[in-house]
Symmetry: C2
Subunit: 446 residues, 2 copies
């Protein structure tokens, strides 16, 4: 990928600045020599392509020159880790104009205060503190980085497509494996095999559960029974570390019927509405609100609520059954750029985050731009404790029919999620088709 | 497991003390809400059994009472993560006498200075700094914890046995899959499937390579060719998170011959010697030295070195072909308790770490105790850059035959590693048999 070009575009947005981009160090798991698989800082990777620990890039946007700080391999490294490219070669890969030892970074920064980004990991925070003391991240830098990274180029789309092809294999395997009587954990283990076989890794902890109403249900327990809905939110990484993020919800029997089918129809129609609304200039918070309103309409048709839908939607009535956001940016990171600060990346002075429960969980609210890649993931859930809380608060008495709603608890939850690219005048679902309509899902499960 | 009993034994070793055991927080991967799979602090897990973030245990060894500090689930937790046991229930699981909110920990510690352990993760370091300022870890506490954890009880042995049964499946699959022409990465991917199918996880990043002379070769590249040795160092976790750690080295053809066979014989005999020497009271550094001496003997028999073997061994001649330690403690952590400080856990005033290259890398040197579980993993490697360096230093001129040695570079490396328990009068290899003799390996590959 054209890392030098990306830095030039950053320089255009932030002329006459000194920018420090810090790569990650290895992350300790148990003890100092025991690490989690190395995961590079996404912004550093975006601007350098270097997937190695203990590196930093100092960019002078006035001169356009950049210096890579890194570690030259020594004999110990060669014995333990084998021959590695010298720093000069890595600098060439990143298109850096010069390179120095990482140990020179403090002296190179002496008396200068470069713009820096937020540090989501304690190790990076400590490193910044040591280098620069108490310096706040630069909002200008965050906004400039977000403006570049939020639009994906063709190479990035190819990575996301590869990640989605792997997700397709994962979801096809799940649909083929699900049937009444199966242990949830056994099928989840099989899905782990499928992911390993793709050559990628889980892009995030999989959600595979008959309790889809628990939004992040990471434990896989129990037995699937006829009548259950199985919610599967699973994604796989590409070779370049990009994410996919796909959710399908299926009747364990393989045939939609009854209340589960009604819930599925509501969510399917809500996703269709979102896809139809998407185009450059449309604010994502407005899509979220329209989707929430549409979901309320579905519940009204079932007789679970009634009255002035517009007013109820404004007051946040849909947060009860749709408490999360309709989608988030996706890229190298599943929730792309969330570490830079959700409000700085996803909102601005004009588009501010709602404080109403439900839309308050929307991670991005600004207008869409051509080339953005975003998940579209409406859901509808019957969450017992949340219904109890709303009922006790009394705000929606007369709108929600508490008794009928509580009678529905046990149906569980439905979410349908795809990865979507904003086009010049609309939106396209990325990746290969993954069964989504009821007949498609039923056929894949047959 | 009997966590209360373990704390009683700690109290016997450290009477009249206040001990603070900190659990881990979640570890950020990309952004604050994106975490690596949760991995609990091993010592906290050992003394509490609680595998959840943001907990701490304060133990008063005078009264024998312990207080759990933790987080009570709120509505947000219930919506996102589902119903969780209340703190009272988790305190009961850990056998704690009382429980309080984690936010009360600073006030509970006000004016008191509990004994603490080293903090290998930056997050834990920051937390200790906030709670107690600059307080050094307690060497008494480290030694007491090590004295308990270094001897494994029957429940721990059962976990390690399960981890080893999974490693057996992994190694059997590898032996069946290896043959000339195979892509190393493709077989490695298949091994990922096998590990996922066991229900465990990789206990550490697998080493699967035709370049076994690179000690920690984590990349899997290239094609296996007739004449190559394939080194496979791979372990799987048990349900309780205990590790296995097993290495086998195989001729890609499935038949041992030539120089590769000669190298295998040397390492096999060295491992047999180590196993024969092991018994309570024998210092592990002496086993290491005897193994190094034995490996030199093997190279002398091949005509690659010669002269006074005892003197050369004393001077560290074997570090050239055997640059790592002969084994390390294993338990919840692959390198058990290494985060507490290798020298404090593995050495003491009488048994001090060698500063000679080779034995200097031995992580544990003290006498063995009944019930210790330790890896036994001699190896022999032809490492080009290391041979160059030794030759340039000139220390072993006349002992090593540099020319013949350099002619051997390309054979690669052999390591054979098993997990072994020290018994009352000897040692036993734990877990099910995994092919190790030449005929066993050849049969498994046929």
């Amino acid at each position: 990928m054209d890392h030098r070009g990306r830095r030039s575009r950053l320089a255009q947005l932030l002329p006459d600045s000194l920018v420090l981009l810090l790569g990650h160090t290895a992350t300790v798991r148990d003890h100092p020599a025991d690490h989690h698989p190395f995961r590079q800082d996404a912004t550093f990777l975006y601007f350098t392509g270097l997937d190695e620990p203990d590196a930093a890039l100092l960019v002078d946007t006035a001169s356009g020159e950049s210096t890579l700080f890194g570690v030259e391999p020594d004999l110990e490294d060669i014995v333990w880790h084998g021959p590695r490219p010298p720093l000069a070669e890595r600098a060439a890969t990143a298109g850096a104009d010069s390179y120095r030892s990482a140990s020179d970074l403090p002296s190179a920064l002496a008396g200068r205060t470069p713009l820096t980004l937020p540090a989501p990991r304690p190790s990076q925070r400590d490193q910044l503190q040591d280098l620069l003391g108490d310096v706040a991240p630069s909002h200008d830098l965050i906004r400039a980085v977000a403006q570049l990274r939020e639009v994906k180029d063709e190479e990035e789309i190819a990575e996301i497509d590869q990640a989605l092809e792997r997700a397709r294999r994962l979801h096809a395997a799940a649909m083929a494996a699900i049937s009444p009587g199966c242990e949830v954990a056994a099928v989840a283990r099989h899905l782990g095999e499928v992911v390993a076989g793709t050559g990628g890794e889980w892009a995030y902890p999989v959600i595979f559960t008959t309790h889809g109403e628990v939004l992040h249900q990471f434990g896989q327990t129990g037995r699937m029974e006829a009548g259950d809905l199985l919610l599967h939110d699973g994604g796989v990484t590409s070779d370049g570390g990009y994410a996919s993020d796909v959710t399908r919800t299926m009747p364990v029997t393989g045939t939609f019927d009854g209340r589960a089918e009604a819930l599925y129809d509501i969510v399917f129609d809500a996703q269709a509405l979102a896809l139809a609304m998407m185009r450059p200039g449309v604010a994502w918070r407005d899509v979220h609100h329209a989707v929430g309103r549409k979901i309320l309409e579905g519940f009204a048709d079932l007789g679970l609520c009634g009255g002035d839908l517009d007013a109820a939607a404004e007051d946040g009535a849909y947060g009860l059954v749709f408490p999360h956001g309709v989608g988030h940016l996706l890229g190298i990171e599943v929730h792309d750029m969330e570490g830079l600060g959700e409000d700085l990346v996803g909102y601005d002075a004009e588009f501010v985050r709602s404080d109403v429960f439900g839309p308050s969980n929307l991670r991005f609210g600004k207008p869409l731009r051509e080339g953005m890649v975003i998940t579209v993931e409406p859901g509808a859930y019957l969450i017992g404790p949340l219904i109890e809380r709303f009922r006790a608060d009394g705000d929606f008495d007369g709108f929600w029919d508490w008794e009928r709603l509580e009678d529905w608890v046990g149906v569980g939850g439905v979410r349908i999620e795809d990865v979507v690219r904003v086009t010049v005048d609309g939106a396209e679902v990325l990746g290969p088709p993954i069964p989504r309509t009821k007949p498609e899902v039923e056929e894949a499960m047959a």
